[in-house]
Amino acid sequence: MKQLVLVVIFVLILITSLVKNSTKEIEDQIFVINENIRPLKSELEDVLLEFNYLSSPEKLVQYQTQYFEKDLIKIEIMNIKEIIENNETLEINDLIKKNSNE
């Protein structure tokens, strides 16, 4: 009986070790993937920063005066419409409803 208990314990330890060994491989893979993501993440942050700077309102106003002065026009809010999907029909309404009481 005693021997059986010892054998069971031994088998359990062996199985645990084998399982651990296999998870170690997965951990290694995760480690490698994380290491590969790290520079990509850093690069993405840098690109985003560059994008934020180049598309900042200050820069856009600068581009407008330099290149698109005639192309960019102001749209009055009263002229903006909203499209509402109503089952199979499309309804076009004014975005801002004019108050007739005033």
């Binding site: 330890i13 994380n34 200050e58 903006i80 108050n99 005033e102």
Partner: protein
């Protein structure tokens, strides 16, 4: 002869067998125990190794963010745009003692950095003293310079905090000192959090709207030649600040030491007597207490009242003597407001002002918050406070008070930090239901009617409502000629979403500026009066015209 000796060995055998058997048992058990022990030890060693590998992985995860102790988390706006970013840069130093071939090194460096002054570099090389060759080099140049394989080249990683929006959020974000410690703004109030976390701090502000508002303030600062100006745009329902501008401001990238008091954050730190914008509170308090209604009439109102040494008079002498509560607020009547205040008495007016948070210093996400000047209540004080004089507060507190009065009477906490929707506290009503509707109707009429003082803010499509406030600045022993002109606007008034405060500190009239009337056709050249109606209201109108389409179409309340 047949005598045979029989030797009986039984007893001995038994004894021997017993002993043998006992010995055998011992040997067998020890052997198993030994094997078990060996395997146990192997398992323990293996487990230790696995644990070590596990801990190695967690180390890497910690290092995922820069491990340099000076790292501070980034700050982003509500749309995820960077307002502050910590970037690592590499500085290159050269140790001349370790240079093997100076001429070869110089040729190589010239190839990578052709624009440098190499006469100067050669002089430094000959001095045999370590020197910084180039700061903040690009990753391409770093690879090139390291591929030279010269031992004398010493790269050093540095962290730099950069502010891509330059001046735009200077008063909100604040500065850090040389020890990487926040000394103002969010950098100071969130110093520990920014140092501890790697997650960016998300704010409620919108970069595009902030830019458009600042642009208008900068433009009109030169037109009205004011000392400074401030604007706050806040969501009246949850207290999220979409824009907070104080002008003049400063470029955070320059890291200048700001000592000029004119650079204070006027929106949160500036404590001003704001004048007639307080009349809205007097009327709201009267409605809250049930002492008046909007159509309650005040008859035979004097043109001038005397209280102690000071006299209270109407700004507009053509104002009728008989006015309803609504007309008092629309025409900004001083004497009528005093009469409402006297009806309320000190306790009720004081309690109302305390409830909407204009009397005491408020808690905010940045430390630069002004404290309203305390005063002793009395009969004359009650009279002056009723029309917004002899009482001070900050523009931020004014924004909060107008938000509470217009949003149905629910308390809100102004905030710069974006929270999840679930983290917003359940709304607590502090003003009776129905008061907001009555006040909002009057605020709208101040903008739409010809008697109102804020007609220039009547921008089509936005249903702007609001109240103007023109106050003389205090000086030693009384008031100076310098003014503080304020407009507190709410829009759209039928379903209030935003409060906009525009304040000009010591503006002057402009003889060249052309006003386009909103409530009638035509235009007017030059500022006829140095009042809020001709300064702050005009700017508020221009701001709403520009930011309105963004708020109506792009801006999502999340």
């Amino acid at each position: 002869m047949n005598n045979k000796k029989n030797i009986i060995l039984e007893e001995y055998e038994n004894e021997f067998l017993y002993k043998k058997s006992k010995t055998n048992l011992d040997i067998q058990f020890n052997r198993i125990a030994f094997i078990f022990f060996v395997f146990l030890m192997i398992s323990v060693i293996y487990s230790i190794q696995l644990l070590h590998l596990g801990s190695l992985k967690s180390d890497v995860q910690t290092n995922y963010a820069p491990s340099i102790k000076d790292y501070r988390a980034d700050i982003i706006d509500r749309n995820g745009n960077y307002l502050v970013k910590t970037v690592s840069s590499i500085d290159i130093g050269i140790s001349p003692i370790e240079v093997i071939d100076k001429q070869k090194l110089l040729i190589n460096l010239k190839w990578i950095f052709p624009e440098k002054d190499y006469v100067e570099v050669e002089k430094k090389l000959n001095k045999n003293k370590f020197f910084n060759f180039e700061k903040k080099i690009s990753s391409t140049n770093y690879q090139k310079i390291m591929s030279l394989g010269d031992k004398s080249i010493r790269p050093e990683e540095q962290l730099t905090r950069i502010y891509p929006q330059k001046n735009l959020f200077s008063h909100i974000i604040g500065q850090i000192d040389d020890d990487n410690k926040g000394i103002s703004g969010l950098e100071k109030s969130f110093n520990e959090k920014l140092k501890q976390t790697n997650e960016p701090l998300k704010l409620t502000v919108d970069t595009d709207i902030q830019f458009l508002i600042r642009e208008e303030l900068v433009k009109f600062q030169s037109i009205f030649r004011s000392k400074g100006s401030a604007a706050i745009l806040m969501n009246v329902n949850n207290g999220e600040i979409i824009s907070l501008v104080s002008y003049p401001d400063f470029d955070l990238n320059k890291r200048e030491k700001i000592v000029d008091l004119n650079f204070i954050n006027r929106a949160t730190k500036g404590v001003y007597e704001l004048g007639s914008v307080f009349k809205t509170f007097t009327v709201a308090a009267g409605l809250e207490e049930g002492l008046i209604d909007t159509d309650t009439e005040f008859l035979n109102l004097e043109k001038r009242l005397q209280c102690g040494k000071s006299s209270i008079s109407e700004y507009d002498n053509k104002i009728p003597s008989d006015l309803t509560v609504e007309q008092i607020l629309i025409r900004s009547g001083n004497v009528g407001s005093v009469r409402i205040g006297q009806k309320l008495e000190i306790i009720k007016l004081k309690n109302f002002l305390e409830k909407i948070g204009v009397l005491k210093k408020m808690k905010f996400d940045i430390n630069e918050v002004g404290e309203p000047i305390p005063f002793r209540w009395g009969k004359c004080k009650l009279a002056t406070v009723s029309y917004g004089h002899g009482i001070t507060t900050t523009p931020l507190q004014l924004a909060r008070a107008y938000a509470i009065i217009s949003n149905g009477g629910f308390d809100i906490e102004p905030s710069l930090i974006k929270k999840d929707l679930k983290n917003y506290q359940q709304k607590k009503r502090i003003i009776k239901a129905g008061i907001s509707e009555k006040i909002n109707t009057i605020l709208r009429k101040i903008v739409t009617t010809k008697e109102g003082t804020a007609g220039l803010a009547n921008i089509e499509g936005y249903e702007v409502g609001g109240k103007t406030g023109t106050a003389n600045k205090t000086s030693i022993g009384g008031y100076s000629k310098a003014k503080v002109n304020t407009f507190a606007g709410i829009f759209p008034i039928s379903n209030p979403k935003y409060v906009l405060i525009v304040l000009f500190d010591e503006p002057k009239t402009s003889s060249e500026y052309i006003y386009e009337y909103k409530n009638k056709k035509g235009s007017y050249k030059g500022t006829p009066f140095n009042t809020a109606g001709w300064t702050s209201v005009e700017v508020a109108g221009k701001i709403i015209e520009k930011i309105g389409p963004i708020l109506a179409t792009k801006h999502i309340e999340n």
